[in-house]
Symmetry: D2
């Protein structure tokens, strides 16, 4: 029986939604400076407005991840109702305050660890009030020079802090523990890889899961294999999507190595782990140069295209070719899905749902960007130094 | 109270022994060819003889790791008695036979998996007969091209195979599970990192531990941090030491980044994990160019020197500097140990034990190399093609 | 005026031919062993026969690169006439003989340097006799340990040797100088990057050019940028195509990062350097697991597809978007070409030229593989040890 | 004749001075934030004061590199006279202004290129007025996404701009052209490696040289080999020293891989290139966590120690061992110098010159840090946001 390609793509796309980061609409940069965009959002209302516009163009972004330090206190419920976008993952900030110079949960100073924990507990509170399922934990903790910190003590403090955080979760909430090999710490990061994140999550409790940021891996790392392991161990909480060529470049997803993201999606779509259902698909990018709105719409569309391509793999035939070690046949089958131009299928799928058939064109046509450029441009012009 | 440096070094050295690999005395090479050495060992007796000579020069290498395919069947007990070197870890070979083209324990063909398992069980037998504690498992299993193999199925087969192998261990035996990110497989390796090795070891049983080969990591990886995690989780079985600049270069230990090995040793010496006692320190290098005997003695001496340096770190002062985040002070203290020239202390330690004070010079002086060059040279000249 | 896509693709494909390596049909492997294929070619006649079959299926492989050590002496002219495939680049071998243990042109021993030079001069002779334009020089020269060799002396010897080789070229011949950062040398390679290769080529003379092997770069390296520089400096001699995820993995081209090869082709197609005309497109892969014939046909087809995709980029529109820094627009335009499914266009192009419309299927259908499996299988079964 | 170690070390140290960067005394950070230090310098006078203090403690830092954007206009002559530290290299800033969003000399907008060039010409002016020999050029120019910029046009613009800059140099001045593979651009950097920097320098003119920043290389890169090439081609202008484990981590020099810096120094000390004399040794680090004064003194001392170790290599014996390919002997000799504890020799050298014998202790004892902590702390407390 030939594959019903359209049905496969439709099913996959129906099940695929992606969360936008509130900070993705604000000015960000590299350590060498920020290039300010007049249309960049500076209030939470502007971020909700932008996210809503992306959702309007794409139809698959019903939620927005929030950042506790930058987005709170605020009237999220009102904004949520007004803009039709709900609060997504809650992200504590444990790296920006001056007290975190030597770490947060891993700081040698017990008072600072306590302070960091309290911030996490407050974040859980916020999540509870907003009905958010996930608290995303990224720690900048680490050290820059061999011998300057005790790796073992810091790990113990992390175990203690995460267990305390876990204890405060309500029934359906989850802690997502992110890992990163380096930056901003350059000798060791306390949670450097998926093995460490997993071990800490396990110790914290069953509601702690691992968060995979696609940019947080050493050169050459096979990320899709890590994804299959986390699914296997029922420990995959979700993704922070972005792309990279060198370090944690935070480029728009699929822009450097689209084949890799296709492979990650294929591992998910071919898995029968119950963990698949719970995966939070989130974008975490830093658009220093691209226009923020365009970059976000472009990323969502790219994610959908790669997801659709992955859905086109004929699993049955592939299984047979893999089992018989028919390498070229298996590869051609697998890669054939990647080479298929799914853009027409996505257009159809959108039209069937009364969505704009070409989100990027729709964004341009909508006049939204001119509007925010003009409105915010004047306002922002007055506020800012040229360098942050 | 000032540190008694000599006592620290003496204690450390007294507790440090390192196992030699039988294959380290034989001709090896790169995929571009082998450069044959006339003195290379071609029989197990020659390997025992060489290992005994290294032990004679250094006094810290009482055992030799054996390779089932290349070293058996043979009269190990006799050789062991005759040369005064005991059998160490037993290494099955699961990569060289033509049937392993698509894998061993991860092969889609059940018969081949069975064959591989049987070879492991046979190796456990051999270990039991020889009184060897450790069976070292390195798997070349993986795939070269995306989509050509099913990562999930292969993992399941590994879980089954390792559990069966574990079941056959006698009371004091251990399975050491090695990981490697790539080579000879270039897209995915079934056991690619310490997280996967640990998970498989856990699933197999309590006597399965992780084996860290220092060359088997992606660029930039902080190996000492992995070591502390494995110690913490009581899962560190041992080391295969060698050094690298690029990929798995298999260079002599400490030759490219000696500071890193110093840091690994420091993590071990400052740990209070019960796992420290069980660590098997083993060399696993491939000397394509250096003379095998010289390279081995040089490696043992370098390992001792770096171990002694690590022992010199003033743990108490370091703990205080780390706790107060006195970074420069902590680093200077830590690195000061590395900068200390321990060669005179090692000389003393050796002399106190009636060992040759300078092992490399002793090797040269002993006439052993001339002897084997001559004896084996003629024999080997007749046997070999110039390229393998 | 809208782009005439078909015309662009047709023009590009008409100008694109790719040379096959004789050694790509023989058994090869990794340092952990070779998996022998019954159909692997063991004589030069078999290699010509295989190359001819690939040419028959694809129509774009009229030449075969030859390897002096493995393929000569032999009756190339007869084979060439009989199989309809001409001799391409001539590849000296300067790494396999035991005398090259410490290098060839960079060896501290003047007699060995002389020997290596003589082999290159002989290779130039062979090229002259066969009417081959290019002599491809890859050197394994380097060292494994800091301090063990004098980088400066070795460079001088290379300068002398290459100048002498250049002096022996006939009017239309070229020396192609390849670079590689590591392997089989693991501390330094004498010609480690394009800057060193270029400098040596310049010193040798105007007929020396740089050869880019896509697998010979450090992680993250932007290869297409190097290609534009070499074109700019009129120093790009050609390519050895293959793909990699980690080190020099020698995987089939485009199998890991197809977007990168697309970008390389785009730089060539959008260049107006006179050097474009002289580019030698060559495959240099090592198929340890894939069937050699299938892998070769697959590679040729993939190269054509990526070349065709690159030809689809609307240069005029792209130039405008680049000039105005319309990043998202430029990227969508650029990547839109990559996402276009060119397979139907290639089919048409082939049919218009009376070539098999689907080369891989044609190969299967032709019965050639069964034939060589059977004929060579019996022969090879008798000859080989299981490990090389 | 045995080596006179003391004489070798004394000669080397006498010839070794290192320039401090004015920005190394100011607050800096990562893209995730800056940790503000109360004692950080915020005026040029404070930077001169700090540099003078480092010079007082070490005796080998008579000059300070200046940054045009941050340090000018100002009364450098007065400061120089007052603090006894002269102006060193002049560093234009071509990355921070908002107009440089898409590049400086490589910007598609001719007016911005002109603006950037004018800034360089102004910097040359400043250098002339101050009697500074070197203008150090680091460009952040590049792009983040494939296809968004034209690599060829940008190169041409660089060629034009650098030639114009070169034309404005006075007789003894030099342009130092720095390269960097990535960051802040993440797909391509216009001057990505030494080959590109060299080619641009050559095109600009004979007074343009290459500047090697030790942190600006891809993983595994053999930096000392590049250094020998630049010396050979008479194109090495100088160094920006720092250390790294992952990307461009900007850690204090020698803190991660001290053996590598030793090897770089060895290549310089064993070279007979006339270019050695002109090498500008400069520090370029970013101390986010370490105290700035301590880190600077520590770096200077470490550089001296590694330079002294490199001077201890017995060149004559090494040459013989290298020539005879006595690998282990050569390595032991080479590495023996690295293992030698040179701290006592440095102490002697300092005492003989009436310098503080232990610079770090001297710094602590001097009370300088308490003083600036107190004086500047109050001032800075009022000025700053917590995040930049």
């Amino acid at each position: 029986m030939p594959l019903d390609k359209t049905a496969l793509v439709v099913d996959a796309l129906n099940a695929f939604q992606i969360e936008l980061p509130s900070w993705g609409f604000a000015n960000t940069g590299t350590r060498f400076g920020k290039f300010l965009q007049p249309a960049a959002a500076t209030t939470l209302e502007e971020k909700f407005s932008d996210a809503a516009q992306v959702h309007r163009c794409t139809g698959v972004c019903p939620s927005i991840a929030l950042h506790v330090l930058w987005d709170f206190p605020s009237d999220v419920q009102r904004l949520s109702a007004q803009y039709g976008v709900r609060a997504g993952a809650i992200n504590p900030n444990l790296f920006q305050d001056q007290i975190y110079k030597y770490g947060s949960l891993g700081n040698p100073d017990a008072a600072i660890r306590e302070h960091a924990l309290q911030h996490i507990l407050d974040s859980v509170q916020i999540a509870t009030q907003l009905g958010s399922r996930d608290i995303s934990l990224w720690f900048a903790d680490g050290s820059n020079y061999p011998g300057t910190q005790n790796l073992r003590h810091r790990r113990r403090w992390f175990e203690e802090g995460l267990a305390a955080a876990h204890a405060s979760l309500s029934k359906d909430q989850r802690l997502l523990v992110e890992y990163k090999p380096f930056e901003p710490a350059f000798y060791h990061t306390d949670i450097a890889d998926w093995g460490m994140a997993l071990s800490l999550a396990r110790k914290a409790g069953p509601k702690a899961k691992v968060l995979v940021d696609t940019g947080h891996h050493l050169p050459g790392c096979n990320i899709e294999q890590i994804v299959t392991w986390l699914l296997h161990l029922n420990a995959l909480g979700g993704f922070h999507f972005n792309d990279r060529k060198f370090a944690d470049d935070d480029l728009t997803l699929g822009s450097i190595d689209p084949y890799q993201l296709f492979r990650i999606f294929h591992e998910i779509l071919s898995s029968n782990s119950p963990a698949v259902k719970g995966i939070a698909y989130m974008i975490d990018q830093s658009h220093n140069l691209k226009g923020k709105m365009e970059a976000m719409v472009q990323s969502v569309v790219t994610a959908q295209e790669l997801f659709a391509k992955a859905a086109l793999v004929d699993q049955e035939k592939l299984a047979a070719a893999q089992q018989s070690c028919s390498l070229v046949e298996a590869e051609e089958l697998f890669r054939g899905a990647f080479w298929t131009d799914v853009r027409p299928m996505l257009k159809e799928w959108r039209e069937a749902r009364k969505l704009p058939s070409e989100p990027l064109k729709e964004l341009k046509k909508s006049g939204y960007m001119e509007k925010i450029n003009k409105e915010r441009g004047a306002k922002n012009a007055n506020s800012g130094s040229s360098y942050a």
